[in-house]
């Protein structure tokens, strides 16, 4: 156990030097490190959000909201399909529980109705091998003229998957437009999106920007009755009551004339008379044509601009608007107008997103955690070093050198892998400092025992190392199992703890069996001891 081939010695030195070199950039400010010569490693350790400050936001697609939206559209499609010539009489069309129902009046035309409705199941291409298609809806004839349409399970899953992808795109565009932070945005599971924004300590504006559905629609204001009348009774078929930003209710045609999808651009401007911020928008060609037609046909009538189920403004159409552009004014602040323009440019979210988990840490707490983590690690290391010196003397020096190599290796590996260091991660390092000497303790205690059993100094050292090996491996593998499990289930900070624990286990075994052993071999060679110093 005490003989080392030359290449092994070289390897050990290279590894330890590598650890020191890759750790080195962490001691200097980033600007200094960049000016180093090219052969030097420049990467610094990645700090978790809990250390550098920032926001962790987990969003979930609101399934119910999405389903309801789809059902409203489906109701419209069914109405249209049955009203086509020749008209099929129906009754009770609407959303019932988790589906849409309609009853055909004339039982003899049941088959014809089924034929028309079955065209609405909306085949989706699953796209895996181009072949298989999945229908979004399932048509369930219930007998007695009753039809029910529900989501197919695969169809809903596929739709949600694409909702998530679309939402990620939209969020990315919005955040890019905002330009202040560079968060990472990624899909998590089937219906979640994780947004991590380092350095963002007050995520409120970010949340406002991400969370707004920004569904912009243009509706004619219904003239059938006043909104307050509608609120007392029931709004007439095909109309809805929507609350306005001013607190007033409006009775609107349910079907929008136009949606935000037809928008080409939006920007902030100032009203020339009032000097209030307003948002100017421009439709694309299709949108502009429809807008021109609609405004021409409804001169003198009010129409409403609705954003996320709220009427922002309801001006009266004075003349046909043929240029395809318009203006939204509604008591905006400059920031508010700017955010709205950003939202309109980036497009609407296909469904509502809810924040299901949020963790944000201010930069103050992050820095405090780094500082106290540093002090704690240094004190822990100093205490262990002193203790090892007291317990093992010269061999303690060797254990401490191995510990130093170990710590450099841990940070070197973490830096090279660009693993994230979190606050529990620092705790993991400190725990490793405490436990790292365990390998040396096992070896030294074993050496002591072998010496008591009557072996020569060199014989004891040799036997001590080889016998302790099995124990050290067994003991560390059990801890490794735990660390791997922690890594696979943990999130964020806990994952950081698991990473440092895992890395620590490998570097500990390495440094005990190469660095310590090599140093002791050198010592034996030089001293040729007849008696052990421990």
């Amino acid at each position: 156990m005490l003989h080392f081939a030359r290449w092994k010695i070289a390897l050990i030195i290279v590894v330890v030097l590598g650890g020191i070199l890759t750790t080195l950039p962490n001691f200097f400010p980033a600007s200094t490190v960049q000016s180093w010569p090219d052969f030097m490693p420049k990467r610094q350790i990645v700090l978790g959000l809990d250390l550098q400050g920032g926001a962790y936001l987990l969003y979930e697609v609101d399934k119910e909201d999405y389903k309801e939206k789809q059902f409203i559209q489906l109701v419209g499609s069914i109405r249209q399909a049955l009203r086509e010539n020749p008209r099929i009489g129906y009754t009770g069309l609407g959303i019932q529980g988790d589906g849409v129902q309609v009853r055909i009046r004339d039982n003899t035309r049941f088959d014809e109705a089924e034929q028309r409705l079955s065209e609405l199941v909306n085949p989706l291409n699953s796209g895996v091998f181009g072949g298989a298609t999945v229908n979004e809806f399932v048509l369930e004839p219930q007998g007695d003229g009753l039809f029910r349409m529900v989501f197919s399970e695969e169809g809903l899953d596929m739709r949600l998957a694409s909702v998530v992808s679309q939402s990620i795109e939209v969020i990315r565009r919005r955040v890019d437009e905002l330009g202040t932070t560079e968060p990472s945005i990624q899909r998590q599971g089937t219906d979640r999106i994780l947004v991590e924004a380092p350095g963002e300590s007050d995520p409120q504006r970010l949340k406002d920007i991400i969370g707004a559905t920004a569904q912009l629609t243009f509706h004619l204001v219904s003239q059938e009755m006043s909104a307050s009348q509608a609120l007392q009774g029931r709004p007439p078929a095909g109309t809805i009551v929507v609350e306005g930003a001013d607190g007033q209710p409006y009775l609107l045609d349910e079907a929008p004339l136009l949606t935000g999808e037809e928008l080409q651009d939006a920007s902030v401007a100032f009203d020339q008379q009032t000097n209030e911020p307003v948002v100017n928008f421009r439709f694309n060609t299709t949108g502009a044509r429809i807008f021109a037609d609609v405004t021409r046909a409804n001169v003198g009538q009010p129409f409403a601009i609705v954003l996320d189920d709220e009427v922002i403004t309801a001006p009266v159409i004075r003349q046909a608007i043929t240029g395809g552009s318009g203006q939204i004014s509604g008591n905006f602040t400059v920031d508010g107008a700017n955010d709205l323009a950003v939202l309109l440019r980036a497009g609407a979210l296909p469904a509502r997103l809810d924040v299901v988990e949020e963790r944000s840490v201010g930069p103050g707490l992050g820095q405090d955690s780094i500082d106290s983590g540093k002090i704690a690690s240094l004190v822990a290391a100093a205490a262990v070093v002193l203790f090892m010196l007291a317990a093992y003397g010269q061999f303690g020096v060797i254990a401490n050198l191995a510990l130093a190599a170990n710590i450099f290796l841990i940070f070197g590996v973490l830096t090279t892998l660009q693993a994230t260091l979190t606050l529990p991660g620092i705790a993991g390092v400190v725990l490793t400092i405490g436990m790292a000497v365990d390998a040396n303790v096992l070896i030294y205690e074993r050496i002591r025992e072998e010496a008591r059993a009557g072996r020569s100094a060199i014989g004891s050292i040799d036997a001590g190392f080889s016998r302790a090996l099995g124990t050290i491996l067994d003991a560390n593998i059990t801890t490794l199992i735990v660390a791997v499990i922690l890594f696979s289930i943990g999130s964020g900070p806990v994952k950081g703890f698991a990473v440092t624990l895992m890395v620590g286990i490998f570097t500990t075994v390495f440094s005990a069996f190469t660095v310590s052993r090599f140093l002791i071999a050198m010592w034996v060679k030089r001293k040729r001891p007849s008696k052990l110093p421990i």
């Binding site: 409120q204 016998r467 922690l486 703890f497």
Partner: protein, 313 residues
């Protein structure tokens, strides 16, 4: 220079003898822990219960807890806890989960922010919705369970079944006691507590495995010794290592406890406790349990030659 010894060079404690004391004692404490868990219960943090946690620091002078409480009361948020956190200028606010509506928690954060933004710095905000908290709880239980199972298989594979069972009972005892501590002190039980429990499992097993390793070795070497003497001998031989490692680990953890900051203090406290009971259980439970299971003295006979001391490479 005289070297420091935590335990004398040669010890001859009769640990097996003490099992008449250690078994009932451990059983009583374990039962107490379970009773505490069932009656007082864990103080689940927002990770598992859902809700909102906000850490504030006053922008000038010490925080006015009474005033913070009053302002929060006016917001009508249900069960709200306010406490000082580490420093008189810092306040920790816990607000209970706001029903099943996923978006509702966000309104809470917004209103709290609006109320305190002028006088306080928001150091930390954590919001966990009801669905996520359920999943996290499930993941936590799954993690502890799968860790136990995998380790049992590993030890069974490396040793004999008696060792695997002994290690699992010992570890389970450590987990129970840790849960008992969390219940007794009403420490926040969060995701990091699960991490602490898993670390304790790792550490306690580490200790147990070292003792078992020596037992296996001695079983092969000393054919004449009775099982009781052999177990005593093995524990005595590893005693110095067990205490040394506990001490270095505790030294490091105490540094972290006192200097590492308020945020991880309960995490570290759990680990300190775990190291202490882990050390106790690997000495007083792990090995004596082997006697209970009637480990045969020749358990490892067929695997290799037993009498000659192994030649080192």
């Amino acid at each position: 220079m005289k070297l420091l010894r935590l335990v004398p060079e040669q010890t001859n404690f009769r640990f097996m003898h003490w099992r008449v004391l250690s078994f009932p004692l451990s059983a009583i404490v374990a039962v107490l822990a379970v009773v505490l868990f069932l009656t007082v219960g864990l103080n689940y943090g927002i990770d598992f219960k859902g809700g909102t946690l906000i850490e504030l620091r006053s922008k000038s002078g010490p925080a006015d807890l009474a005033q913070v409480r009053q302002s929060l009361g006016a917001l009508n948020l249900g069960d709200v806890q306010v406490q000082e956190f580490g420093d008189p200028s810092e306040v920790l606010i816990r607000i209970e989960s706001q029903g099943d509506e996923e978006g509702a928690q966000q309104d809470v954060v917004e209103s709290v922010r609006a109320t305190f933004a002028d006088d306080y710095e928001f150091r930390r905000t954590e919001v966990v919705g009801p669905r996520v908290s359920g999943e996290l709880a499930y993941a936590g239980v799954l993690a502890v369970g799968s860790a136990l199972v995998m380790i049992m298989f590993y030890i069974w594979f490396r040793f004999e079944w008696q060792f695997a069972v002994g290690a699992i009972i010992t570890t389970f005892n450590d987990i129970l006691l840790t849960i008992g501590l969390f219940s007794l002190l009403q420490l926040d039980f969060t995701l990091s507590s699960i991490a602490a429990v898993l670390t304790i499992i790792g550490y306690s097993l580490n200790d147990t495995v070292v003792v078992y390793d020596r037992i296996r070795e001695n079983l092969r070497r000393y054919k004449r010794l009775s099982l009781e003497e052999l177990l005593d001998k093995s524990i005595n031989e590893t005693l110095s290592r067990t205490t040394m490692t506990s001490v270095t680990t505790l030294l490091a953890l105490f540094a972290l406890y006192f200097l590492g900051g308020e945020v991880i203090q309960s995490f570290v406290l759990a680990m300190i406790f775990g190291i202490v009971i882990g050390t106790y259980s690997s000495i007083f439970l792990a090995a004596p349990l082997l006697m209970l299971m009637k480990l045969r003295a020749n358990a490892f006979d067929r695997k290799e030659d037993v009498t000659s001391p192994s030649k080192s490479a």
